[in-house]
Symmetry: D2
Subunit: 335 residues, 4 copies
């Protein structure tokens, strides 16, 4: 990293910074210019908070040079991580289409939609059993009963099941039923939960927080991987901007960037990313064209009766149209 | 709420929307204009997700008219909520100054700084026992040992203690030691945690999430209050914007807005809100001038040695300067 | 529009609002609920600022129902606008590839790159003659000499030329040389300039401002169209968000949204939208897949020697690779 | 600046970067670490675009160390700039209160409100003669007639007049009538206009663009100052964020930051910054408490009849209340 000293920093202040850096095992290059002194420091940034330097007297700013993540970085591991899920895998080149309703609403309805999306081309199932909502007065999910329904749907369809875990207390419970654990956008920096899923054998879909930078998102993955679970799948689902026409602004450039900075697979959720079902198909096409490893699509028999996220859900017929079309947009020779 | 139908919505589509609204006990006013039909619906929005309407065929958009929160709204309760904390209270007109280091680093250091900030004018103590960080390789807090040190500091100084609870499993533990439980910005929409602190007898400081709208922040408070705990203190701590010079952009207009929409007290954290100690004093002055009920200030004996948030921490001397100056900026006759 | 009155609005206040609305030729529907009175108003919103209503006593908020734009709206004109440019046109289904350097740097270099991009598949040329920069100390463009070079390049290649006009004083000058006038992102709300290009016979590329909502962007187009120039091409080029890895966040969902709300063609600029040449190809693929009518690509013989925007410029070879690949991603049957 | 090379950058690539830096008269410090090579470059950044470096092969990123502005920087000039305006000045410690309606609507109404705000404590007058609006169908201003009314109001009240110039063609015209020229937020990066007002003898109020970083805002001031006009007054008026309750988010931390980075005075516009008259007084108090040199307040005889910006305008009575209260919040001993 680079420590830029203030114009009038004293020799004592410059010396103190160097001392502190040496204590943390950094190698130091001092560069005393006409206008100010700059201290270069080479070492293992991942073990140190840079912040302590900014608090030292005479320091103007600290500029990190290296990225703060290690195990997830492309430099640490050049080949793509391929995450095994049931009989298939994510990140191997084949496009995964994860589909289903936002919430598991009843056994009958879930088993029906699971069969419908399978028939129309889904390769994995989704559906939430825990659904805490922004309003305390809304539907909150079927909880363990929902997990059992998900497991039954897997038996019937043979497709693996992705479902959200919202709370470290229920990680074991969810892991008992699901094939892939999903960390929701609001929990992306719930470090207790990240640590807990780091200790589990099941793969993890890690959604990007609505105001998370790419670096913060990757650091959240680093939490899971450094806890012992290498099977993290990144999921772009839109960020919050000033635009209000769409629910979020889907940042598709995050796909090539995260694939360049890390070795992890990246999938895209155009349903939450736009909040409007009419935008789901064009944005799914774009997500595939940009090079993602899979898409996550909300589908409901009757979006107008959905207990959650109806406006962004496709009908089974619209979903069939989307799937038909999608693989054609894959870039085979992507680097 | 108002449901705007598409230009070419059919009679059947218009009828269906009305049916669904009646089923949810809304009263309906139909207005058929030349260009389009508009359906007004009067009823209890708090029990219904508006989303289901947007998913109905022929609906262009749904415009909420009433706010989605009830118990926390100024309309529900006209008088200010005054939250009792130890021998004092927040929201009664006296300015609370909550001070201390970001993290409890050791018994000796915490007891020392607690005495120092008390002597210089702090009215409550702060300090974190659980410190999960964005990097898994950073200091993570003293946990229960830290809570015991906080309790000891309360004995010594007589000042109430505010500390963060990050995880629903430790709510009871933290409540045993602390006077006020803090919900951090990243947990503002951790609904499991909100529900849990709703069942506790201790007051709750609820920090605004970095990308939360005012309505979402108030809805999070509604979770706690509707769970049975009326003693919520809102804490503005900055939102994420494109500006990078400051760590966050402190949105001081949220203070008068939240005080107008709700009856809850509002405090401001200029330390996290700016991320730079030099900005803490001017922004604390501004926060008091705008009408907040208290400020939360990070203070450390030696910011350059702090394990966390050094760059935004004041020295005890700077803190003394700030306190001396602060009450002068209070607006007594504020409406 | 809907005017929501405050809970305790008096009869006189309610009457005043109705009077003012009638004066503006709105039809009124009064709805007096238990909790508050709501006034619906039907009429021509485009001629009135809604703001005046919000300033009336007793008004809580004003909710617009209809969009504020008319001539550009899909409701006003159902068929797509097809903009004729030279022998070709934008918006007819064929993908336009507009390529060239950020700035015209010299006659020799521009004529060379123009020939190179034509040979590799460009269908139009781009290049700036006026280049005011964020720093007053940077290269500022060749001005009229640059325009002459652009015209010469058109003669040589037969391709139409797109170039920016930055200032109403030079609209006539630029229109004399260019085939298409570009309004830059920073000028999207320069209403003097919009009015001036509304009076010109040449088509206009209107870039989205970095913090413009979709509605504001469309209103800027409405300025040009209402001034008499129907040939507006919308250009998405990214918005400013908290993410700093990319120069802007390219909002690809704006393509289907603007095509749904208006009848105008939409092109995408992935060079400015990302600021990094490695992201240009994947984002161009995604832009085509989402349904845009053209892409604008910065190409330079030697990006490392470019006087402007080098980091986001493709080499001619990379550009050739991009073009080869691009039309395959077009969705033919797009609705 | 620091150039970070890619992990596998070749010797030739490293050499090329050094050559290019030497050509621009930078001094070079090479630091070859185990993981990557870092090149430090010391020289005059203000004359060079850093971008060209990022386009060189093998370069990972370029990190600027020094700020890009010179003449406006606190390092260039330690003492505060005090801008003379008529008989008074901005930046000398006395609080300026600039008040008046958004637009000059008629001679009679403007002269009346000018007298009213003077009587209630205004020290300067404001009012727009050119009012291009986001809708082409709205009121567009009285133009030169409006300027004459402003000049007449100055005669009557003795107060200096601030008014916006929107277009380089009318700079001379506006400068003939006004005491201070205002550059509006949407024109903050209209470099033609900035250059033009740099050649004028009148002081300039430079509003911050709604999505401008502090550095971009200061660079816009650098344009004016480097053009020969040292009398620039910075005006914070809010930035665009995801929050929609307020029209903009007033970023009060910009006041101490700009005063630290530059020597220019800073004023605050809480009327545009919030868009709601009820928030104007508390935010004006906060602006004064944070240390600004003046506030700009919209006042209208009858906000409900205002042709522009009614909802954020104070009545003369509310303005009187605000002024009475305001100077009490000044921090005298501010550094």
């Amino acid at each position: 990293m680079i420590v830029v000293m203030e114009k009038n920093a004293s020799d004592g202040e410059i010396e103190l910074v160097q001392e502190r850096l040496r204590r943390e095992n950094f190698q130091i290059h001092l560069s005393q210019g006409v206008e100010r002194t700059i201290i270069g420091a080479v070492g293992d940034r991942s073990r140190v908070d840079l912040e302590f330097l900014e608090a030292l007297p005479g320091v103007e700013k600290v500029v990190p040079i290296m990225k703060p993540f290690k195990l997830t970085s492309r430099e640490f591991r050049e080949e793509d991580t391929v995450v095994p899920v049931g009989d298939t895998c994510i990140g191997s080149g084949a496009l995964q289409i994860i589909a289903g309703p936002c919430a598991v609403e009843s056994r009958e309805k879930y088993l029906e939609i699971a069969a419908m999306v399978k028939e129309r081309g889904a390769t994995m199932l989704r559906g939430g059993a825990f659904k805490p909502r922004t309003s305390p007065y809304s539907f909150q999910g079927l909880e363990e009963e929902g997990l059992k329904i998900l497991a039954e749907a897997r038996e019937l369809t043979g497709l693996p099941v992705v479902t959200e875990v919202m709370d470290q207390r229920s990680v074991d419970l969810v892991a008992r039923y699901a094939d892939v654990l999903q960390i929701g956008a609001r929990n992306m920096q719930n470090f207790f939960l990240l640590r807990e899923v780091g200790m589990v054998k099941k793969p993890v879909v890690l959604k990007r927080g609505p105001s998370a930078t790419l670096e913060e998102w990757i650091m959240a993955a680093e939490y899971v991987v450094s806890g012992g679970n290498p099977n993290v799948i990144m999921c772009e689902r839109g960020i919050r901007t000033f635009e209000t026409y769409t629910r979020n602004t889907l940042d598709l450039s995050s796909v090539p960037v995260v694939k360049r900075l890390t070795h992890l697979p990246v999938i895209v959720d155009p349903s939450h990313g736009t909040g409007k079902w009419r935008l789901v198909e064009p944005m799914a096409r774009a997500a595939v064209a940009v090079g993602c490893d899979g898409v996550m699509i909300e589908v409901h028999q009757n979006p107008a009766e959905a207990l959650s996220d109806g406006p962004q859900s496709l009908t089974p017929e619209n979903f069939a149209g989307l799937v038909n079309n999608l693989t054609r947009f894959q870039e085979n020779g992507r680097s």
